[in-house]
């Protein structure tokens, strides 16, 4: 058995240039955590856009499409933790935003604010659920299920500051929100066709997979 992995602030690293949208990470997460239909702690977003553009006398297209995998980003200033009225959500050891199910009252206030759709409602138990970075695996010295399952090695994890130094800071391409909003522990290597944050010419082409939940009405 390996030693427990310890971090000041654990972070995910997503290499968009390698992600093929296979969703192995999503399935591994669902399998490991036995998540019900509609609850997807990790989701693979397909972001597409573009149109015909006139160039001189000719028309050319500038369509684009790329994938990226997203889950809870265990933010440094997590809006869910600030909002939670019961302190059920808190920053844990390793910087993980963890959920105490005994304290959760199912008010869903955390769900309103999270720009990554991380806290998700469990209709069976009437409680919120969310990614815990496979903290049990970390204690065993193992990689999180999503990271271990990625066939292209597009997903990594590590110490936030170290990853940030290694990859020259952080970027937040569309459709992700501005970094400053919640300061997510997420490092992204953008796809060559990634658009800047706030770009409005694209859309998530698989919203049913990313946002769908049978009874989360506000989505």
């Amino acid at each position: 058995m390996k030693n427990e992995l310890r971090f000041n602030q654990i972070a995910f690293y997503v290499d968009m240039t390698l992600c093929t949208g296979c969703k192995a990470c999503m399935i591994a997460c669902k399998d490991k955590n036995d998540l019900d239909v509609g609850v997807n702690w990790r989701r693979v977003v397909e972001y597409t856009g573009g149109e015909w553009v006139k160039q001189g006398h000719a028309w050319r297209q500038d369509i684009f499409s790329h994938y990226f995998s997203v889950s809870c980003n265990h933010c440094n200033t997590p809006i869910c933790v600030e909002s939670c009225p019961t302190t059920a959500l808190c920053k844990d050891k390793n910087g993980i935003v963890s959920l105490d199910r005994d304290k959760c009252i199912g008010c869903r206030y955390c769900e309103w604010g999270c720009p990554y759709g991380a806290p998700q409602y469990d209709e069976k138990n009437n409680l919120m659920t969310k990614c815990d970075f496979c903290s049990d695996y970390l204690e065993e010295g193992r990689d999180p299920a999503c990271v271990a399952a990625c066939p292209t090695r597009a997903l990594h994890f590590g110490e936030f500051e170290e990853l940030k130094k290694k990859l020259n800071g952080t970027v937040s391409p569309a459709p992700l929100p501005r970094y400053e909003l919640t300061d997510p522990a997420l490092i992204i290597k953008p796809h060559r066709n990634a658009r800047p944050v706030g770009f409005k010419g694209g859309k998530i082409s698989n919203p049913e997979e990313v946002r769908w939940n049978p009874k989360i009405g506000l989505w």
Binding site: V81, T86, Y109, Y116, G117, N126, M128
Partner: protein, 286 residues
């Protein structure tokens, strides 16, 4: 906006109605004492207390339906340090207890105004803070359609507007009719106040529908939820102005019973407005 948000719509409207009545009661008490006499003022105050206490209790009970685990509701007070929902819950509890205490005092006999007034003034201050806390819950930095300066203003206008029309109903039904000029005068003041507040709300609706900056700029020039719920907004505006028109008719014709439909019109208008508010939730990100 789905069925799970209805408890929130009803909770916020009921509680704001109760708080508005408290504000009006305290605000107009001096006027009533000077114009209608101590006995009438006392009677109106008693009516307000007997109405607001159960309204606050009903509001609290309705809010529980929003929770996945209502039996653990007391845990909602744990995070007063950072959560506006905790702060709202705590203030709501204190306000309800204060009004219930007043109601119980009244049940057991006449109570000196020296006892009632400080508690009612405290309740007024608590109400003003509570409306602010309620609005702060929705000022989430990741939800541009809610995170606007107009949100607290809208919450305060709803509170005072509902309070004004409910107070008109209490004045008309709580004291014997034709008590002189004071009733017509007070209804006129309440009607002007209501007109002013509906005017502010109309501006807020227009500003909210068509403006926004950066990430909060509305797609297709209009806020999310408009296309689906445009009829709700139109209903709200029509009912509000119809209510105001009826208020005018009640005053000019002295058919004071018309304040009852005025109250219904304004109440339904505000429910429609709050329904639309929840429907406009759209956060940034994915």
């Amino acid at each position: 906006m789905e069925s799970k948000d209805w408890p929130l719509v009803i909770f916020t409207i009921i509680v704001q109605l109760a708080m508005g009545m408290i504000l009006m009661c305290v605000g107009f008490d001096g006027y009533l004492v000077s114009k209608a006499g101590m006995e009438t003022a006392q009677k109106v105050m008693q009516w307000v207390i007997f109405l607001t206490a159960p309204l606050l209790i009903i509001g609290l009970l309705v809010s529980l339906f929003h929770l996945g685990h209502p039996e653990k509701a007391m845990k909602a007070f744990y995070n007063v340090k950072t959560s506006w929902l905790s702060r709202e819950g705590l203030l709501m509890g204190i306000l309800t207890m204060a009004l219930c205490f007043l109601a119980i005092l009244h049940i057991f006999g006449p109570v000196s105004r020296d006892v009632i007034k400080p508690i009612l003034w405290t309740a007024t201050v608590l109400s003003l803070i509570l409306v602010f806390c309620m609005s702060k819950i929705y000022l989430l930095r990741t939800v541009p359609s809610w995170n606007r300066n107009t949100t607290p203003i809208a919450f305060y206008t709803t509170t005072i507007l509902l309070g004004a029309v409910a107070y008109a109903v209490v004045c008309v039904s709580g004291v014997p009719p034709a008590q002189g000029r004071w009733l017509a005068e007070i209804l006129s003041v309440l009607a002007i106040l209501a007109l002013f507040l509906v005017g502010i709300q109309s501006v807020i609706i227009s500003v909210g529908l068509f403006t926004g900056e950066g990430e909060s700029s509305p797609k297709e020039g209009i806020v999310p939820g408009w296309k689906k719920h445009s009829r709700t907004v139109i209903l709200r505006i029509v009912l509000a102005f119809a209510g105001l028109g009826l208020f005018g008719v009640a005053i000019f014709t002295s058919f004071l019973f018309i304040v009852y439909p005025v109250f219904i019109f304004i109440l339904v208008s505000e429910i429609a407005g709050r329904f639309f508010f929840y429907a406009t939730h759209e956060r940034v990100g994915i």
